[in-house]
């Protein structure tokens, strides 16, 4: 066991990695890279292979094919014990028969560090995450949020090259989630950690990530920055999965350089062309990409009927029936909701509308 401490954050690289269980392919030809000191989320619906991908980084699963490099070193065949990577488990996986201090100092103890030194290392991390004074508690005596912080301290204590989070917010109540995800992001940025983070919640992914890897059916659907994925989804799956989007049919009328003239029902808009050719096309329109009018506006508009209207305080959510299909829209401009069943008119905003090629 020759893990040395203080090596700093490392890069992670997957090269055509495949993981099979019998005839089931859980991860199919996945390639990506994580820059040192950045936070990358693996995002996708359940069963898309994101957790298996994370476990492949940890060494808890061994790849069937392909190569995995951490800090430029091939670790494809190394076991979890021999990789300088630590994981914060979804269930936290705190040892119930050990107190907080024993849990956190477990890593260095296993690595052969003397008890006193190991406990010093553990106490330092417990202070870092604000759990000093809790050393002698049993995990069962802590709240869910505290348990998670112990799990983070335990994973951090060896100062791993890469820190992994498996759905870290899933066992916390809604109020705590926002704070914990901010804490994780802050910790990652302060300590300049390389973090891989699995979630199925797109909002969470958008909030914390430097880069998002969207997975679907064991493959990578798209890799990009939160902004890039949101504004320029590569396909309908990504458009739909990252932020709500209504997919509508449109017609590209003309393309001039990087801009395209597109017609949706009665409305014409000017959009980044993204390689589109004149002809039929799909558009992904965000809820705030629609402008909802109570009376017919001067410009051309899509005629709609209000199927549902919900007043949510800071905005109003509409489900609108139109010739272009059912639209989901958010109106933050008006205080009063248009009555259910009433007529309305819809125009498109300059942002929140994107062509989806292919």
């Amino acid at each position: 066991m020759t893990k040395s401490f203080k090596k700093g954050p490392a890069s992670v690289e997957f090269r055509n990695v495949v993981k099979r269980y019998g005839s089931v392919v859980a991860v199919d030809d996945v390639s990506f890279s994580v820059e040192p000191g950045t936070l990358v989320t693996l995002l996708g619906p359940s069963g898309c292979g994101k957790t298996t991908t994370l476990r492949l980084v940890a060494g808890l699963e061994i790849a069937s094919e392909g190569q995995i490099l951490i800090g430029g070193v091939d670790v494809t065949r190394l076991s979890a014990a021999d990789r300088d990577v630590s994981m914060v488990f979804q269930s936290y996986a705190l040892f119930p028969h050990m107190n907080v201090l024993e849990n956190v100092s477990y890593g260095p103890r296993v690595q052969g560090v003397a008890r006193q030194k190991a406990e010093e290392m553990a106490l330092e991390k417990l202070r870092l995450i604000g759990l000093q004074g809790m050393e002698k508690r049993a995990p069962s005596e802590l709240s869910g949020g505290q348990q998670q912080r112990v799990a983070v301290a335990r994973a951090l204590v060896l100062e791993p090259e890469v820190l992994l989070f498996d759905e870290p917010l899933s066992n916390l109540d809604a109020k705590l989630r926002r704070r914990v995800r901010e804490d994780i992001r802050e910790l990652q940025q302060t300590l300049r950690l390389t973090v891989a983070y699995v979630t199925h919640d797109q909002e969470e992914a958008l909030a914390v990530s430097d880069k998002i890897i969207v997975m679907s059916n064991a493959r990578i659907a798209q890799v990009g920055t939160p902004r890039g994925l949101y504004d320029e989804p590569k396909d309908l799956f990504v458009a739909d999965f990252i932020g709500d989007a209504t997919i509508v049919d449109g017609q590209v009328l003309s393309v001039e350089g990087e801009r395209a003239r597109v017609k949706v029902d009665a409305v014409e808009v000017d959009l980044p062309s993204r390689g589109a050719k004149p002809g039929p096309i799909k558009l992904a329109i965000r809820p705030h990409g629609f402008r909802v009018h109570e009376t017919a506006p001067a410009a051309a508009a899509i005629k709609a009927r209000v199927a549902k209207a919900a007043y949510l305080g800071k905005h109003i959510e509409y489900t609108l029936e139109t010739p272009a299909g059912e639209l989901f829209a958010i109106d933050a401009a008006h205080a009063e909701a248009i009555a259910h069943g009433a007529d309305a008119w819809v125009t498109l905003a300059p942002r929140g509308v994107a062509l989806v090629p292919g």
Binding site: G59, L60, A80, S91, A93, Y106, V110
Partner: protein, 302 residues
Amino acid sequence: MSAPSDRSLARRLALAVPTLWMAALFLTPFALVAKVSLSTPALSQPPYAPVFALAEGAAAALDKFGELGVAAYRALLDDDLYLASYLGSLRLAAIATALTLLVAYPLALAIARAPRRRRAGLLMLAIAPFWTSFLIRVYAWIMLIKDEGLINHALMASGLVAEPLRIFATDAAVVIGVVYSYLPFMVMPLYAALEGQDAALREAAADLGAPPLRVFWRVTAPLSLPGVLAGSLLVFIPAVGEFVIPDLLGGSDTLMIGRTLWAEFFSNRDWPAAAAVAIVMLAMLAPMLVLYERLQMREAGR
């Protein structure tokens, strides 16, 4: 107005049934045995005195109370045979319990770690033999371990031993019999304790750099201790009082309390002595039964 009292009546009845059941089928026989243990042997039918009869009236009964005494218990102290029997029972039960644990642990671990859909089947295989008669299974072991039995035939045919191994009619045979007979009582609680462990705990330990053996000793084993304790008590308690196995497989020098009790009762017709032996054994095992009950309550409470 009558509703609450009806309910409390129903509740009292519900509690009364098991209470009466225990009183009739457990406490009464126990009281009878305790009473016999305080009597003295007699050449009569039943073979002890005094014998209480309802028709005699209170005064005669009171007289007879005076005849009760602890002579039988004193006799237990006077004769080394009893102490040797108790110690022999405890020793063989302890050895057998330890060996049962050693056999059952890997078995339970293997079943608990098998793919989920196979576990029920494997557990069934481990337990199925125990659906046939206990007596026949113990008897079958004689065929296996006697001097001209299957095991010795195989050993001698393969040239490993020149003389047959003397297993049958020794303490070793009794230990083998107990290990075999009580295996399911150890496997079941161990399996329950191991199967319930979150696999992520082992993964977390491995993730922090622990090699597999260390994961076992620091995580898997300590977390299975309630199962180890429950299984050990479930084997040890009945093994102490075991009669059939030492009688069929043990030698004439195998001293176990179950056999001594049987001899007192049927060969010597000394019922008070037999009853006293039984009462002392119960007193010895009661703390362990209490411990087991506590353990079960704690597990249920979690």
